[in-house]
Symmetry: C2
Subunit: 237 residues, 2 copies
Protein backbone atom coordinates (compact mmCIF):
# COMPACT_ATOMS: atom_id res chain seq x y z
CA UNK A 1 0.00 0.00 0.00
CA UNK A 2 2.79 2.37 0.91
CA UNK A 3 4.61 1.67 -2.33
CA UNK A 4 1.46 2.11 -4.37
CA UNK A 5 0.92 5.57 -2.94
CA UNK A 6 4.57 6.41 -3.45
CA UNK A 7 4.50 5.50 -7.13
CA UNK A 8 1.31 7.47 -7.67
CA UNK A 9 2.93 10.52 -6.11
CA UNK A 10 6.06 9.98 -8.19
CA UNK A 11 3.94 9.80 -11.29
CA UNK A 12 2.20 13.05 -10.37
CA UNK A 13 5.55 14.66 -9.70
CA UNK A 14 6.94 13.84 -13.13
CA UNK A 15 3.67 15.09 -14.62
CA UNK A 16 4.10 18.40 -12.84
CA UNK A 17 7.67 18.65 -14.09
CA UNK A 18 6.53 18.05 -17.65
CA UNK A 19 3.74 20.62 -17.36
CA UNK A 20 6.28 23.11 -16.13
CA UNK A 21 8.63 22.32 -19.01
CA UNK A 22 5.83 22.66 -21.55
CA UNK A 23 5.16 26.09 -20.07
CA UNK A 24 8.82 27.07 -20.44
CA UNK A 25 8.81 25.81 -24.01
CA UNK A 26 5.80 27.96 -24.91
CA UNK A 27 7.64 30.93 -23.44
CA UNK A 28 10.93 30.16 -25.11
CA UNK A 29 9.40 29.58 -28.52
CA UNK A 30 7.00 32.48 -28.07
CA UNK A 31 4.07 30.33 -29.10
CA UNK A 32 0.91 32.34 -29.72
CA UNK A 33 -2.71 31.11 -29.53
CA UNK A 34 -3.33 28.57 -32.27
CA UNK A 35 0.35 27.65 -32.70
CA UNK A 36 1.33 24.01 -32.77
CA UNK A 37 3.29 22.36 -30.02
CA UNK A 38 6.11 19.94 -30.93
CA UNK A 39 4.81 16.40 -31.32
CA UNK A 40 4.37 14.13 -28.33
CA UNK A 41 7.27 11.99 -29.53
CA UNK A 42 9.63 14.94 -29.77
CA UNK A 43 8.60 16.23 -26.36
CA UNK A 44 9.11 12.82 -24.77
CA UNK A 45 12.60 12.69 -26.24
CA UNK A 46 13.43 16.28 -25.33
CA UNK A 47 12.22 15.88 -21.73
CA UNK A 48 13.61 12.34 -21.47
CA UNK A 49 10.32 10.83 -20.33
CA UNK A 50 7.93 8.34 -21.86
CA UNK A 51 5.31 9.42 -24.34
CA UNK A 52 2.61 8.32 -21.90
CA UNK A 53 3.88 10.83 -19.38
CA UNK A 54 3.79 13.58 -22.00
CA UNK A 55 0.26 12.58 -22.93
CA UNK A 56 -0.81 12.73 -19.30
CA UNK A 57 0.56 16.23 -18.89
CA UNK A 58 -1.09 17.40 -22.11
CA UNK A 59 -4.41 15.92 -21.03
CA UNK A 60 -4.28 17.83 -17.77
CA UNK A 61 -3.54 21.08 -19.59
CA UNK A 62 -6.37 20.22 -21.97
CA UNK A 63 -8.72 19.80 -19.01
CA UNK A 64 -7.88 23.31 -17.85
CA UNK A 65 -8.45 24.60 -21.38
CA UNK A 66 -4.85 25.60 -22.08
CA UNK A 67 -4.14 23.14 -24.90
CA UNK A 68 -6.17 21.32 -27.48
CA UNK A 69 -5.19 18.06 -29.18
CA UNK A 70 -6.52 17.36 -32.63
CA UNK A 71 -6.14 13.77 -33.85
CA UNK A 72 -3.68 13.17 -36.67
CA UNK A 73 -2.73 16.80 -36.62
CA UNK A 74 -1.13 18.04 -33.43
CA UNK A 75 -1.54 19.76 -30.08
CA UNK A 76 -2.30 23.46 -30.19
CA UNK A 77 -2.16 26.23 -27.62
CA UNK A 78 -5.63 27.55 -26.82
CA UNK A 79 -6.87 31.08 -27.38
CA UNK A 80 -4.81 32.30 -24.47
CA UNK A 81 -1.64 34.32 -24.78
CA UNK A 82 1.74 33.62 -23.24
CA UNK A 83 1.10 35.76 -20.19
CA UNK A 84 -2.15 34.10 -19.15
CA UNK A 85 -0.62 30.73 -19.99
CA UNK A 86 2.29 31.32 -17.64
CA UNK A 87 0.09 32.55 -14.84
CA UNK A 88 -2.36 29.72 -15.11
CA UNK A 89 0.26 26.99 -15.34
CA UNK A 90 1.93 28.37 -12.25
CA UNK A 91 -1.41 28.41 -10.43
CA UNK A 92 -2.30 24.90 -11.54
CA UNK A 93 1.03 23.54 -10.32
CA UNK A 94 0.64 25.23 -6.94
CA UNK A 95 -2.98 24.18 -6.50
CA UNK A 96 -3.50 22.45 -3.17
CA UNK A 97 -5.77 19.48 -2.57
CA UNK A 98 -9.22 20.55 -1.40
CA UNK A 99 -9.77 20.21 2.33
CA UNK A 100 -13.05 19.70 4.12
CA UNK A 101 -13.40 23.33 5.11
CA UNK A 102 -12.95 24.61 1.56
CA UNK A 103 -15.46 22.04 0.33
CA UNK A 104 -18.15 23.00 2.83
CA UNK A 105 -17.50 26.70 2.26
CA UNK A 106 -17.84 26.24 -1.48
CA UNK A 107 -20.87 24.01 -1.19
CA UNK A 108 -22.78 26.57 0.84
CA UNK A 109 -21.89 29.29 -1.66
CA UNK A 110 -22.99 27.19 -4.63
CA UNK A 111 -26.22 26.03 -3.06
CA UNK A 112 -27.39 29.46 -1.94
CA UNK A 113 -27.18 30.30 -5.63
CA UNK A 114 -28.61 27.10 -7.12
CA UNK A 115 -31.64 27.21 -4.83
CA UNK A 116 -32.34 30.79 -5.87
CA UNK A 117 -31.97 30.00 -9.56
CA UNK A 118 -34.01 26.82 -9.18
CA UNK A 119 -36.90 28.75 -7.66
CA UNK A 120 -36.80 31.10 -10.65
CA UNK A 121 -36.24 28.62 -13.46
CA UNK A 122 -37.55 25.25 -12.32
CA UNK A 123 -39.86 23.48 -14.73
CA UNK A 124 -42.70 21.28 -13.53
CA UNK A 125 -40.51 18.28 -14.31
CA UNK A 126 -37.73 19.69 -12.14
CA UNK A 127 -40.20 20.18 -9.32
CA UNK A 128 -41.35 16.60 -9.62
CA UNK A 129 -37.80 15.27 -9.49
CA UNK A 130 -37.06 17.36 -6.42
CA UNK A 131 -40.24 16.08 -4.80
CA UNK A 132 -39.23 12.48 -5.50
CA UNK A 133 -35.84 13.05 -3.88
CA UNK A 134 -37.55 14.70 -0.92
CA UNK A 135 -39.92 11.77 -0.44
CA UNK A 136 -37.10 9.24 -0.68
CA UNK A 137 -35.20 11.13 2.00
CA UNK A 138 -38.20 11.41 4.32
CA UNK A 139 -39.08 7.77 3.91
CA UNK A 140 -35.57 6.65 4.80
CA UNK A 141 -35.30 8.94 7.82
CA UNK A 142 -38.67 7.88 9.22
CA UNK A 143 -37.52 4.28 9.00
CA UNK A 144 -34.66 5.34 11.23
CA UNK A 145 -32.03 4.58 8.61
CA UNK A 146 -29.05 6.58 7.50
CA UNK A 147 -30.06 8.97 4.71
CA UNK A 148 -26.94 10.89 3.77
CA UNK A 149 -27.20 9.76 0.16
CA UNK A 150 -30.85 10.74 -0.22
CA UNK A 151 -30.05 14.04 1.45
CA UNK A 152 -27.46 14.95 -1.14
CA UNK A 153 -29.55 13.70 -4.04
CA UNK A 154 -32.17 16.21 -2.96
CA UNK A 155 -29.58 18.96 -3.15
CA UNK A 156 -28.32 17.71 -6.51
CA UNK A 157 -31.87 17.76 -7.87
CA UNK A 158 -32.01 21.44 -6.95
CA UNK A 159 -28.66 22.07 -8.64
CA UNK A 160 -30.00 20.46 -11.78
CA UNK A 161 -33.12 22.63 -11.66
CA UNK A 162 -30.95 25.74 -11.49
CA UNK A 163 -30.53 25.51 -15.24
CA UNK A 164 -26.85 26.38 -14.90
CA UNK A 165 -24.71 23.54 -16.19
CA UNK A 166 -21.49 24.94 -14.71
CA UNK A 167 -22.95 25.16 -11.21
CA UNK A 168 -24.48 21.72 -11.66
CA UNK A 169 -21.13 20.30 -12.71
CA UNK A 170 -19.34 21.87 -9.76
CA UNK A 171 -21.92 20.47 -7.36
CA UNK A 172 -21.39 17.01 -8.85
CA UNK A 173 -17.63 17.36 -8.41
CA UNK A 174 -17.73 18.21 -4.72
CA UNK A 175 -20.64 16.00 -3.64
CA UNK A 176 -18.85 12.63 -3.28
CA UNK A 177 -16.11 14.09 -1.13
CA UNK A 178 -18.74 15.84 0.98
CA UNK A 179 -20.53 12.53 1.50
CA UNK A 180 -17.29 10.76 2.42
CA UNK A 181 -16.42 13.40 5.00
CA UNK A 182 -19.95 13.45 6.39
CA UNK A 183 -19.84 9.73 6.97
CA UNK A 184 -16.31 9.94 8.30
CA UNK A 185 -17.30 12.48 10.95
CA UNK A 186 -20.80 11.08 11.40
CA UNK A 187 -22.46 14.32 10.42
CA UNK A 188 -26.17 13.98 9.76
CA UNK A 189 -27.02 11.61 12.55
CA UNK A 190 -30.63 10.71 13.18
CA UNK A 191 -31.57 13.69 15.33
CA UNK A 192 -30.29 16.04 12.65
CA UNK A 193 -32.10 14.07 9.99
CA UNK A 194 -35.48 14.57 11.68
CA UNK A 195 -34.98 18.29 11.60
CA UNK A 196 -33.69 17.96 8.06
CA UNK A 197 -37.08 16.77 6.83
CA UNK A 198 -38.78 19.98 7.87
CA UNK A 199 -35.99 22.09 6.45
CA UNK A 200 -36.06 20.24 3.15
CA UNK A 201 -39.82 20.68 2.99
CA UNK A 202 -39.48 24.40 3.57
CA UNK A 203 -36.93 24.66 0.76
CA UNK A 204 -39.14 22.64 -1.54
CA UNK A 205 -42.18 24.81 -0.82
CA UNK A 206 -40.21 27.97 -1.58
CA UNK A 207 -39.04 26.54 -4.90
CA UNK A 208 -42.58 25.47 -5.68
CA UNK A 209 -43.85 28.96 -4.89
CA UNK A 210 -41.05 30.36 -7.04
CA UNK A 211 -39.97 32.63 -4.22
CA UNK A 212 -36.17 33.09 -4.60
CA UNK A 213 -35.68 35.11 -1.43
CA UNK A 214 -37.52 32.62 0.73
CA UNK A 215 -35.76 29.71 -0.94
CA UNK A 216 -32.37 31.20 -0.22
CA UNK A 217 -33.32 31.95 3.38
CA UNK A 218 -34.57 28.42 3.99
CA UNK A 219 -31.40 26.99 2.51
CA UNK A 220 -29.41 29.29 4.76
CA UNK A 221 -31.32 28.02 7.80
CA UNK A 222 -30.65 24.47 6.67
CA UNK A 223 -26.93 25.09 6.39
CA UNK A 224 -26.75 27.00 9.64
CA UNK A 225 -27.21 23.85 11.68
CA UNK A 226 -24.90 21.90 9.44
CA UNK A 227 -22.17 24.47 9.51
CA UNK A 228 -22.22 24.67 13.30
CA UNK A 229 -21.96 20.91 13.37
CA UNK A 230 -19.05 20.78 10.95
CA UNK A 231 -17.25 23.58 12.70
CA UNK A 232 -17.41 21.76 16.04
CA UNK A 233 -16.05 18.63 14.43
CA UNK A 234 -13.22 20.51 12.85
CA UNK A 235 -12.18 22.07 16.13
CA UNK A 236 -12.17 18.78 17.98
CA UNK A 237 -10.36 16.85 15.24
Amino acid sequence: MKLEVATKIDSLDTQKTIISKIGELINFKNLEPGDKLPSERMLSEKFEVTRSNVRGAIQKLEFYGLLESIPQSGTFVANIGVIAMNGMIEDILKLEDPNFKSLVETRILLELKTVRLASLRRTDEDLERIKEALDAYEKKVLKGEDAVQEDLLFHLAIAKASGNSTLNNFMLIITPEIITNFEKYHVCDKSLSRQGIEEHNAIFDAIKKQDPKLAKQKMKDHFNVLYQYCYNIKKSS
Copy 2:
Protein backbone atom coordinates in the same frame (compact mmCIF):
# COMPACT_ATOMS: atom_id res chain seq x y z
CA MET B 1 -12.39 18.19 -39.74
CA LYS B 2 -15.94 16.91 -39.86
CA LEU B 3 -14.81 13.33 -39.51
CA GLU B 4 -12.50 14.17 -36.66
CA VAL B 5 -15.33 15.69 -34.68
CA ALA B 6 -17.55 12.76 -35.52
CA THR B 7 -15.08 10.24 -34.14
CA LYS B 8 -14.60 12.25 -30.98
CA ILE B 9 -18.36 12.35 -30.46
CA ASP B 10 -18.59 8.65 -31.19
CA SER B 11 -15.89 7.98 -28.65
CA LEU B 12 -17.72 10.04 -26.04
CA ASP B 13 -20.94 8.23 -26.88
CA THR B 14 -19.47 4.79 -26.28
CA GLN B 15 -17.95 6.10 -23.07
CA LYS B 16 -21.37 7.26 -21.90
CA THR B 17 -22.82 3.87 -22.77
CA ILE B 18 -20.14 2.13 -20.75
CA ILE B 19 -20.64 4.46 -17.78
CA SER B 20 -24.32 3.67 -17.90
CA LYS B 21 -23.64 -0.06 -18.03
CA ILE B 22 -21.24 0.13 -15.12
CA GLY B 23 -24.01 1.85 -13.19
CA GLU B 24 -26.45 -0.93 -14.05
CA LEU B 25 -23.88 -3.51 -13.02
CA ILE B 26 -23.41 -1.91 -9.62
CA ASN B 27 -27.18 -2.00 -9.19
CA PHE B 28 -27.58 -5.55 -10.40
CA LYS B 29 -24.78 -6.92 -8.26
CA ASN B 30 -25.80 -4.72 -5.33
CA LEU B 31 -22.25 -3.50 -4.88
CA GLU B 32 -21.72 -1.60 -1.65
CA PRO B 33 -19.04 1.01 -0.87
CA GLY B 34 -15.63 -0.64 -0.91
CA ASP B 35 -16.70 -3.57 -3.06
CA LYS B 36 -14.61 -4.53 -6.03
CA LEU B 37 -15.75 -4.06 -9.61
CA PRO B 38 -15.06 -6.83 -12.15
CA SER B 39 -11.68 -6.40 -13.80
CA GLU B 40 -11.24 -4.10 -16.78
CA ARG B 41 -10.68 -7.10 -19.01
CA MET B 42 -13.90 -8.78 -17.94
CA LEU B 43 -15.87 -5.57 -18.37
CA SER B 44 -14.46 -4.99 -21.84
CA GLU B 45 -15.50 -8.51 -22.80
CA LYS B 46 -18.92 -8.24 -21.18
CA PHE B 47 -19.69 -4.88 -22.79
CA GLU B 48 -18.03 -5.89 -26.07
CA VAL B 49 -15.76 -2.84 -26.17
CA THR B 50 -12.00 -2.36 -25.96
CA ARG B 51 -10.25 -2.22 -22.63
CA SER B 52 -9.18 1.34 -23.43
CA ASN B 53 -12.82 2.38 -23.60
CA VAL B 54 -13.51 0.75 -20.25
CA ARG B 55 -10.50 2.54 -18.77
CA GLY B 56 -11.73 5.87 -20.09
CA ALA B 57 -15.14 5.37 -18.52
CA ILE B 58 -13.60 4.32 -15.21
CA GLN B 59 -11.31 7.36 -15.24
CA LYS B 60 -14.27 9.67 -15.70
CA LEU B 61 -16.11 8.05 -12.81
CA GLU B 62 -12.90 8.32 -10.80
CA PHE B 63 -12.77 12.05 -11.55
CA TYR B 64 -16.26 12.45 -10.12
CA GLY B 65 -15.20 10.46 -7.07
CA LEU B 66 -17.47 7.47 -7.70
CA LEU B 67 -14.78 4.84 -8.27
CA GLU B 68 -11.21 4.33 -7.18
CA SER B 69 -8.63 2.26 -9.02
CA ILE B 70 -5.83 0.69 -7.06
CA PRO B 71 -2.92 -0.68 -9.09
CA GLN B 72 -2.51 -4.44 -9.20
CA SER B 73 -5.59 -4.83 -7.09
CA GLY B 74 -8.79 -3.61 -8.69
CA THR B 75 -11.33 -0.86 -9.09
CA PHE B 76 -13.51 -0.18 -6.09
CA VAL B 77 -16.75 1.71 -5.58
CA ALA B 78 -16.23 4.79 -3.44
CA ASN B 79 -17.82 5.47 -0.08
CA ILE B 80 -21.13 6.13 -1.76
CA GLY B 81 -24.08 3.78 -1.68
CA VAL B 82 -26.06 2.44 -4.59
CA ILE B 83 -28.68 5.16 -4.41
CA ALA B 84 -26.29 8.10 -4.59
CA MET B 85 -24.31 6.24 -7.23
CA ASN B 86 -27.38 5.88 -9.45
CA GLY B 87 -28.40 9.46 -9.02
CA MET B 88 -24.97 10.85 -9.69
CA ILE B 89 -24.29 8.70 -12.74
CA GLU B 90 -27.61 9.77 -14.20
CA ASP B 91 -26.75 13.41 -13.55
CA ILE B 92 -23.26 13.07 -15.01
CA LEU B 93 -24.61 11.51 -18.19
CA LYS B 94 -27.20 14.25 -18.62
CA LEU B 95 -24.77 17.06 -17.87
CA GLU B 96 -24.87 19.70 -20.60
CA ASP B 97 -21.86 21.57 -21.92
CA PRO B 98 -21.37 24.90 -20.16
CA ASN B 99 -22.62 27.89 -22.13
CA PHE B 100 -21.38 31.46 -21.88
CA LYS B 101 -24.25 32.59 -19.68
CA SER B 102 -23.71 29.85 -17.11
CA LEU B 103 -19.99 30.61 -17.08
CA VAL B 104 -20.46 34.33 -16.45
CA GLU B 105 -23.15 33.67 -13.86
CA THR B 106 -20.88 31.25 -12.03
CA ARG B 107 -17.85 33.48 -12.32
CA ILE B 108 -19.64 36.39 -10.69
CA LEU B 109 -20.85 34.16 -7.88
CA LEU B 110 -17.38 32.74 -7.26
CA GLU B 111 -15.61 36.08 -7.38
CA LEU B 112 -17.97 37.87 -5.01
CA LYS B 113 -16.92 35.17 -2.56
CA THR B 114 -13.20 34.97 -3.33
CA VAL B 115 -12.78 38.74 -3.03
CA ARG B 116 -14.48 38.68 0.36
CA LEU B 117 -12.34 35.79 1.59
CA ALA B 118 -9.21 37.35 0.11
CA SER B 119 -9.80 40.56 2.05
CA LEU B 120 -10.09 38.51 5.23
CA ARG B 121 -7.30 36.02 4.71
CA ARG B 122 -4.76 37.57 2.35
CA THR B 123 -1.17 37.43 3.49
CA ASP B 124 1.33 40.16 2.65
CA GLU B 125 2.66 37.90 -0.07
CA ASP B 126 -0.80 37.54 -1.55
CA LEU B 127 -1.20 41.29 -1.54
CA GLU B 128 2.09 41.71 -3.34
CA ARG B 129 1.11 39.22 -6.02
CA ILE B 130 -2.22 40.95 -6.54
CA LYS B 131 -0.42 44.29 -6.80
CA GLU B 132 1.94 42.90 -9.42
CA ALA B 133 -0.99 41.65 -11.49
CA LEU B 134 -2.67 45.02 -11.09
CA ASP B 135 0.42 46.90 -12.28
CA ALA B 136 0.85 44.59 -15.27
CA TYR B 137 -2.75 45.23 -16.26
CA GLU B 138 -2.49 49.01 -15.86
CA LYS B 139 0.76 49.16 -17.81
CA LYS B 140 -0.71 47.23 -20.71
CA VAL B 141 -3.91 49.29 -20.84
CA LEU B 142 -2.06 52.61 -20.73
CA LYS B 143 0.00 51.44 -23.68
CA GLY B 144 -3.31 51.05 -25.48
CA GLU B 145 -2.87 47.31 -25.87
CA ASP B 146 -5.33 44.50 -25.29
CA ALA B 147 -5.19 43.39 -21.65
CA VAL B 148 -7.73 40.61 -21.29
CA GLN B 149 -5.08 38.19 -20.05
CA GLU B 150 -3.69 40.56 -17.44
CA ASP B 151 -7.24 41.35 -16.37
CA LEU B 152 -8.01 37.73 -15.58
CA LEU B 153 -4.66 37.10 -13.94
CA PHE B 154 -5.58 39.85 -11.49
CA HIS B 155 -8.79 38.03 -10.70
CA LEU B 156 -6.98 34.70 -10.39
CA ALA B 157 -4.52 36.27 -7.96
CA ILE B 158 -7.49 37.21 -5.79
CA ALA B 159 -8.89 33.68 -6.05
CA LYS B 160 -5.55 32.35 -4.88
CA ALA B 161 -5.53 34.76 -1.93
CA SER B 162 -8.95 33.48 -0.87
CA GLY B 163 -7.22 30.54 0.78
CA ASN B 164 -9.92 28.22 -0.55
CA SER B 165 -8.40 25.63 -2.88
CA THR B 166 -11.78 24.46 -4.19
CA LEU B 167 -12.84 27.96 -5.20
CA ASN B 168 -9.38 28.57 -6.66
CA ASN B 169 -9.63 25.39 -8.69
CA PHE B 170 -13.09 26.27 -10.00
CA MET B 171 -11.87 29.71 -11.03
CA LEU B 172 -9.00 28.11 -12.93
CA ILE B 173 -11.41 25.76 -14.69
CA ILE B 174 -13.72 28.47 -16.02
CA THR B 175 -11.14 31.18 -16.77
CA PRO B 176 -9.85 29.98 -20.16
CA GLU B 177 -13.34 29.64 -21.58
CA ILE B 178 -14.19 33.09 -20.22
CA ILE B 179 -11.16 34.55 -21.98
CA THR B 180 -12.03 32.80 -25.22
CA ASN B 181 -15.57 34.14 -25.15
CA PHE B 182 -14.43 37.63 -24.20
CA GLU B 183 -12.13 37.75 -27.17
CA LYS B 184 -14.74 36.21 -29.40
CA TYR B 185 -17.28 38.90 -28.55
CA HIS B 186 -14.67 41.64 -28.11
CA VAL B 187 -15.65 42.29 -24.53
CA CYS B 188 -13.15 44.44 -22.64
CA ASP B 189 -12.34 46.91 -25.39
CA LYS B 190 -10.13 49.84 -24.63
CA SER B 191 -12.78 52.18 -23.25
CA LEU B 192 -13.84 49.51 -20.77
CA SER B 193 -10.22 48.82 -19.87
CA ARG B 194 -9.60 52.43 -18.82
CA GLN B 195 -12.48 52.21 -16.42
CA GLY B 196 -11.25 48.79 -15.39
CA ILE B 197 -8.06 50.26 -13.96
CA GLU B 198 -9.94 52.37 -11.47
CA GLU B 199 -12.22 49.50 -10.53
CA HIS B 200 -9.30 47.13 -10.04
CA ASN B 201 -7.58 49.70 -7.89
CA ALA B 202 -10.67 50.06 -5.73
CA ILE B 203 -10.85 46.29 -5.27
CA PHE B 204 -7.18 46.12 -4.42
CA ASP B 205 -7.48 48.90 -1.84
CA ALA B 206 -10.37 47.14 -0.14
CA ILE B 207 -8.41 43.89 0.05
CA LYS B 208 -5.43 45.81 1.37
CA LYS B 209 -7.60 47.45 4.02
CA GLN B 210 -9.05 44.01 4.82
CA ASP B 211 -12.56 45.35 4.40
CA PRO B 212 -14.69 42.43 3.14
CA LYS B 213 -17.89 44.42 2.63
CA LEU B 214 -16.17 47.11 0.62
CA ALA B 215 -14.24 44.53 -1.37
CA LYS B 216 -17.41 42.71 -2.32
CA GLN B 217 -19.15 45.96 -3.26
CA LYS B 218 -16.29 47.09 -5.45
CA MET B 219 -16.21 43.74 -7.19
CA LYS B 220 -19.96 44.03 -7.72
CA ASP B 221 -19.49 47.45 -9.30
CA HIS B 222 -16.79 46.00 -11.51
CA PHE B 223 -19.04 43.19 -12.70
CA ASN B 224 -22.01 45.46 -13.18
CA VAL B 225 -20.48 47.07 -16.23
CA LEU B 226 -19.24 43.74 -17.50
CA TYR B 227 -22.54 41.99 -17.06
CA GLN B 228 -24.44 44.71 -18.92
CA TYR B 229 -21.94 44.39 -21.71
CA CYS B 230 -22.21 40.61 -21.90
CA TYR B 231 -25.97 40.74 -21.73
CA ASN B 232 -26.14 43.11 -24.69
CA ILE B 233 -23.85 40.85 -26.68
CA LYS B 234 -25.96 37.83 -25.91
CA LYS B 235 -29.14 39.54 -27.07
CA SER B 236 -27.60 40.66 -30.33
CA SER B 237 -25.93 37.35 -31.12
